[in-house]
Symmetry: C2
Subunit: 210 residues, 2 copies
Amino acid sequence: MYVSFDIEQFIQDFSQSCKKVQIKSFNKNVVITSYIQKRDQLCILISGSADLVRYDLNGNRTIIDHFSKHDIFGEVFYDITTNNELLVESKENCEVLFFSYNDIHNKCKPNCKFHEKLSEHLPELILDKVTTLNMRIELLTKRSTRDKLLGYFNLLSTKALNKTFTLPFSLTDLADYLSVDRSAMMREIKLLKNENIIKKEGKKITLLSN
Amino acid sequence: MYVSFDIEQFIQDFSQSCKKVQIKSFNKNVVITSYIQKRDQLCILISGSADLVRYDLNGNRTIIDHFSKHDIFGEVFYDITTNNELLVESKENCEVLFFSYNDIHNKCKPNCKFHEKLSEHLPELILDKVTTLNMRIELLTKRSTRDKLLGYFNLLSTKALNKTFTLPFSLTDLADYLSVDRSAMMREIKLLKNENIIKKEGKKITLLSN
DNA sequence: ATTTTTCTGTTGCAAAAACAACAAAATAAA
DNA sequence: TTTATTTTGTTGTTTTTGCAACAGAAAAAT
């Protein structure tokens, strides 16, 4: 990761120093924000986890993005509003920092430490996001459910520096995240087990290949 | 778009002012750069168009990203190297500006105008990229070929402010971009025509729905 | 201007994925 | 700790997608 910047420390030190910045708390399974129009809002997840989900006209639910501690999200990243509803839903109790993208540029106050620091480090935060999105695209463009699963497992294995790792999702959510049918995915996981390509105990997965 | 910054002007004014910055020219259908390791490289496409493509072990070709004038790309956006080969291939004759991400922060020279300007505007450039990537993910997570096509057509229609628009791709490349089989996509396009949902004359498409 | 190559459009068939529906297990809530 | 809810695991059937192969059109190269 390129983010050398200590977000934790930054939030602790400076989030109180600017009145334009808000911290809000949310319970589990509530809507944190919805992407309706092209607003200016940027958010940093301080604690907890949340999903950006789309509900299409048929009621299908897709996890467009998954956020955990220190991830940034917000409507500012979306250009054109589609017909579908985009919601950020908390998966656990969450604390979220809200601020406005334009305030970073229109220098808040000459000595607002919060916006000064943020302005300095925003490129690395966003760059980090680009990296995540590119990985996601890598996965989604894979031809088959099998390749998506193995691609994702390899990713987690690489991150964990270990052939064994734990899924950060429920299997139901994993299917949404990989944009495949859950039962079809389960069938494929069973095949991967039978072919001794993976081992699975609950959410703990081990790659046996290579 | 959030990019108010005039890239054209910027490149003309400042690209000569810093020796660390290189401009290279490429013919059509050649490899501009390959993503092999986690390097520091950032590129801006000055003219022409190019694709970021993946060749997997089965020889399948997927267009991961499509770049046109003023798009930024580079290995800096990719975190973990997969087993697959990622190449940026020119689709037309291209001019590309190469520079290093870290140079932007490690202030090049006290009075290097190029890096100063770039540092100032990089967030909006990258933000723009995030927006594009998010749209792409929106498309790729659609359940069916039909939904992907209609999603993409709606996007182009919205961009063009018109029910009629022109595909920026060949149909072959469109299939790669949407990550679906070409013949299956052609079949779906035929159905959309038969059901009077779209009209198609070559690469000119009209949305008839709504 | 002619040849070569790429792109488009089509189709039958095979394979994969989605849909649907249900029981068992696990988790959360009362 | 009992009840309700969500998640997991499974399977038969239908639908969609991918594969393969080919001919004609268009574009590019010679």
